[in-house]
């Protein structure tokens, strides 16, 4: 909270410096996950993966179900132990409740007995850092994402898209330098998804947070990311890293651009034999 200097001012961009020295780098070294099953072959959820993500980068993990993308994300978040290999975030080994890391889940996981505001403040309440400044920051964030009118509403009074917006605000309240997102927009309709894509990019640009974004939606992965990690299933593994050289800031028109479609097509082509193979 020490970086909160000018709360209440209109310039939101200056409010959101990441708290933990703004180091949002992630190093993944031969990280793998295997599930042992009694009297059966073990399941290789993820074959060893090497990946370096620099601070402030936006990386999408894309692939079919069972490709280990969520497994990888949860190991980065410290919510799942690796079978082998190492992962460090902001220079420290990954662990649950790493102060630099925040996780947004597929379901909004807003607690239904808490108002939007109380949900947003939950991380600060748990960390014991809830004060007037945090509340003001929450208000600023809600304002930025267009939920000011709803801070005293309960989750069920909100649409699915608004619930995810509130969840995103909650994941930003501790000023993380790394934001891990597990298919946060998967349950939304296409229009809402695209709208939230743009909002997420806007936030990312303002906060200069590292984002690792899991999705099974190839165009979404390309539209958002600097790099796309293409993953395949059975066994779960990283196939290829694809650089997205579309200019920033991204906008709606780029979804029609030849380069965008080329990248989407390339990723689809990488995944196609895999998906067909798996179907047999």
């Amino acid at each position: 909270m020490t970086h909160l200097t000018d709360v209440g001012s209109a310039t939101l961009g200056s409010v959101g410096e990441p708290a933990s020295g703004s180091d949002g780098s992630i190093y993944i070294d031969q990280l793998a996950k295997t599930y042992e099953r009694p009297k059966q072959d073990s399941v290789q959820a993820l074959l060893p993966v090497d990946l370096s993500i620099t601070s402030g980068e936006f990386v999408s993990l894309v692939g079919p179900s069972g490709c280990g993308k969520t497994t990888l994300l949860m190991m980065i978040g410290g919510l799942l132990d690796a079978t082998q290999g190492e992962v460090s975030v902001a220079g420290e080994p990954a662990r649950a409740a790493h102060p630099a890391v925040s996780i947004a889940f597929q379901k909004s996981t807003l607690l239904r007995w808490r108002t939007v505001m109380d949900n947003v403040l939950l991380p600060a309440q748990i960390a014991g850092t809830l004060n007037a400044q945090t509340k003001q920051y929450a208000r600023d964030l809600l304002e930025m994402i267009g939920l000011s009118q709803f801070e005293n509403r309960y989750p069920h009074e909100l649409s699915g898209g608004m619930q995810q917006r509130a969840a995103i605000v909650r994941s930003l309240i501790m000023k993380p330098s790394v934001l891990l997102m597990d298919e946060p927009f998967a349950a939304l309709d296409e229009f809402t998804r695209e709208m939230l894509n743009d909002e997420l990019l806007r936030i990312w640009q303002e906060k200069s947070t590292t984002i690792v974004f899991v999705t099974h939606h190839i165009p979404e992965a390309v539209y958002l990311a600097d790099r796309v990690a293409v993953m395949a299933a059975r066994p779960g593994r990283l196939l290829e890293m694809v650089d997205v050289d579309l200019p920033r800031p991204r906008n709606e028109d780029m979804r029609q651009s030849p380069r965008f479609n080329e990248l989407v097509g390339r990723i689809r082509a990488v995944l196609q034999p895999e998906v067909n193979g798996a179907a047999e």
Partner: protein, 279 residues
Amino acid sequence: MSTSTATPRSAPPAPRTGTAPRRRGWQVSTRIQAAVLAAVFLIAAVAAWQLAVTLEVTSSLILPAPLDVADSLRAGLTPGAGSWWGDIGVTLQTTTIGFFIGIAVAFVLGTLLAYVEVLRMAIYPYVIFFQTFPKVAIAPLLVSWLGYGLTPKAVIGALLAFFPMFTNTLAGMSEIDKDELRLMRSLGASRMQEMRLLRLPNTMPYIFAAMDVALVMSLLGVIVGEFVGADAGLGFRIQDRTAFGDTASVYAVLLILGVLGTTLHLLMVGVKKAVLFRE
């Protein structure tokens, strides 16, 4: 979970959309119609009852006249010697004690078992056994152990109040959304914080659904206990009046019991509305 788990309203209702005025009008008139119909049912039932008595379908020992019941009720509720207020007080007091002991023990045990899996697996077979066991059957035994006083009745009441509360506490504490648990873990919540901020509020709707049932069960247990052996209470009064062939008074006491049960239920609904978050 077991079959006797009182289910809370799990999914919150969908946000109300604008109702067409015509439909709204229809709803209001339906409510009025229902109220009128309910009154008609009552009048018809009492009229049929009076008719049966007038035609002497059965003896007045089986079916006393409505007016006789009303007279008995008035006499019983008139303060002074022979009034039933003492009995009402005893039954209410015993029910309340049994209820609170039952739900308190159930809550603690349910929470404990939700947390400690090995204990849950060890104890659950016994829980099933006692849950399906007709608990009022041990009332005579309890009275012979604990005497004619309030204690054995409170114990039966507590025993009956225990199970709905126990199963629902266990359900509410353990049936937590996996992502919500992961969220708490990712935020570094301690076990106490997880309890206070997630499990307990998650359990509240289950608890209130259970308390509603538990209160009525407790009353049931107490009445049965009073049947077995007592010198006061509404259960005792029913036995006493039956022995005297004073059927009109028995009917009057039953009426009081009905009102008592409904009042307790409404009280519970009120508490629930005041405490639970808006749905």
